[in-house]
Assembly symmetry: C2
Homo-oligomer: 346 residues x 2
């Protein structure tokens, strides 16, 4: 019989606890052997109780090194921060203890774009210690990038890719609706964007990089536009907000990838109350030319939980290194010099 | 600078020549160094001239061993036969000469289902000689299987999968329309099915196996229904056929995969003149529940050419063995015992 996969959870915020809940309540063949969080008030608390699914005899600890040494897990799930430069140093203790890492850190989904020197250093460190590290999630990591690039595998030519995500923000949590500016006046929205309080969708540049990397387009520019308000033409409401005519009901935002002066990739993100129909669409221009539309739009929270958990076996099985999902899924249209996609070492 | 990928083409029927034409006319960084066919009348003919894109100084030969020894290619593209037991022995000469193999052989896309003993033997032979072999194509190999299983990567649970392909047969070649029974009377169609002259869509069982294998469903039965005629309610015509009311305008066919007495996978294939809208749809039942529809339906011939060519780098890079595309794309919902997806050797 197969030995259960042994997991340590690092970071017990809302996303971390959703993952814990899903694994404990709905998965077999995988078990938590440890939990790590820096918050002193969580020290010694039971992981299962924190997640709301009853005790699981795994206490939370702030001493990462001791947890990894004592429990010898197969993999650590990091749900801590979004930014690479803060994230990577946190993983030293896992890597040096021979523990694979999977994380929802947005910038980790395409770390080369953020800091290629730091990425190379951690890739080397992972390979030295024989562990694999992967950043994953649903956006970036699936809906606006991998879903598109996998579709191009059956294309003889790809000239341009557009991905549209149109979410009904009513289905999101209160904090998500707040981040989308729901219920604000236009002036307050603009001021919040200028102050950095409203950031729009995090990770559009990662999705553009993932698509370009899969297809072999050399990006000369990644341009992420400022988030724009979507105004309510008629009153609309969610569980948390009431939006009158002329107020903000959500956010839209575009990003483009430029190759040789041409726009090759366009991402179009919108989340607002009452979007109907909601959908996720990939438009491929080339041979063939077609549209692939998912309805309704993919739920973001359960999607990220699913990606993290479903990819655990693939990360454990993969060759050591700081990987992107393109290393796990090498299937897409290959543009230009085909020989450039062959590993020269092999 | 990267060295060009060196390719030998084995089999110069319509599909083989389409691939040759595409590579010679539209791809860079990849070159033909040899061509093999058993037809004596092709001996010495120029590969590029046969493909209709002008001479390329690669003569066709019937002596496979000599071609592989003299040209030392990175990979051989086999477009010869559909059935595994005839196909695998053809590849001995490539494997023993250290040449990777990619093929449109339908049964090669999930060979374990056809003959697990023979598959294990060739897997062993590939690993002994350090080569990779993969069966690919658009159906089976992408549209009705991989496209669905990749989507499930962002699912917390999958209870059932339905894939529908609804093609406008008008866009297919004359031989394809003929295979779909276009223009026949119902009695003649039924007789042709009984005699094995009309087989429906080849490879539905492979697609069911690929989905089940990705997700970890233990299939207890794969049931492929007999092809059924689609009757014309009003007259309809293609470039090649005129179909009157009450005559056959195409074929529909279902296949199901049974797990623990339950139907978990259903494939629904239809190709007939005038299908409008034409589409390829995946319906996922679980968490979340949604539909992913590609419009119009994916063109079959260019799709297969694209899959074969786009996957060449991945096959060259992959670990040795007789692989399926699930080995290259380990990304899907994982049901049941998660530990069962971890390579125990690793």
């Amino acid at each position: 019989m197969d030995r259960d996969i042994r997991v340590v959870q690092v970071g017990l915020g809302p996303m971390g606890l959703r993952i814990v809940r899903h694994i404990l309540a709905e998965r077999q063949g995988i078990m938590y052997v440890g939990a790590i969080d820096v918050a002193p008030e969580l020290e010694g608390r039971d992981l299962g109780e924190l997640a709301g699914v009853g005790p699981c005899a795994v206490p939370v600890s702030g001493d990462a090194a001791r947890v990894f040494q004592e429990t010898k897990p197969d993999i650590a799930i990091y749900t801590t921060v979004s930014y690479l430069k803060r994230f990577l140093p946190q993983t030293d203790v896992a890597i040096r203890n021979g523990v694979n890492v999977i994380s929802t850190c947005e910038e980790l989904s395409f770390p080369h774009f953020v800091d290629s020197e730091l990425t190379a250093r951690y890739d080397e460190l992972c390979r030295k210690h024989g562990v694999t590290m992967l950043g994953t999630g649903i956006t970036p990591g699936f809906l606006m990038d991998i879903r598109a690039s996998v579709l191009t595998a059956a294309c003889k030519d790809v000239q341009r890719i557009e991905v549209t995500r149109r979410m009904d923000a009513t289905l999101g949590r209160q904090s998500f609706q707040q981040r989308m500016g729901v219920g604000m006046e236009m002036d307050a929205y603009r001021a919040a964007v200028a102050a950095g309080a409203i950031k729009g969708h995090v990770g559009l540049e990662m999705s553009i990089c993932l698509i370009a990397d899969a297809i072999g387009w050399a990006l000369e520019e990644v341009r992420v536009m400022a988030p724009d308000p979507v105004m309510a033409g008629i009153p609309v409401a969610s569980e948390f907000f009431t939006v009158g005519t002329g107020q903000v009901k959500g956010t839209e935002q575009q990003a483009v990838g430029i190759v040789n002066g041409e726009e090759k990739i366009r991402l179009d993100f919108a989340a607002y109350l009452g979007a109907e129909p909601s959908y996720d669409e990939v438009a491929l221009y080339g041979t063939p030319e077609l549209r692939a539309r998912v309805t309704p739009s993919w739920p973001v929270d359960s999607g990220t939980v699913a990606m993290v958990v479903n990819l655990i076996p693939a990360v454990i099985n993969a060759c050591p290194g700081l990987l992107t999902i393109n290393d796990l899924v090498p299937v897409s249209f290959k543009s230009g010099n085909m020989a450039g996609f062959v590993c020269q070492a092999g």
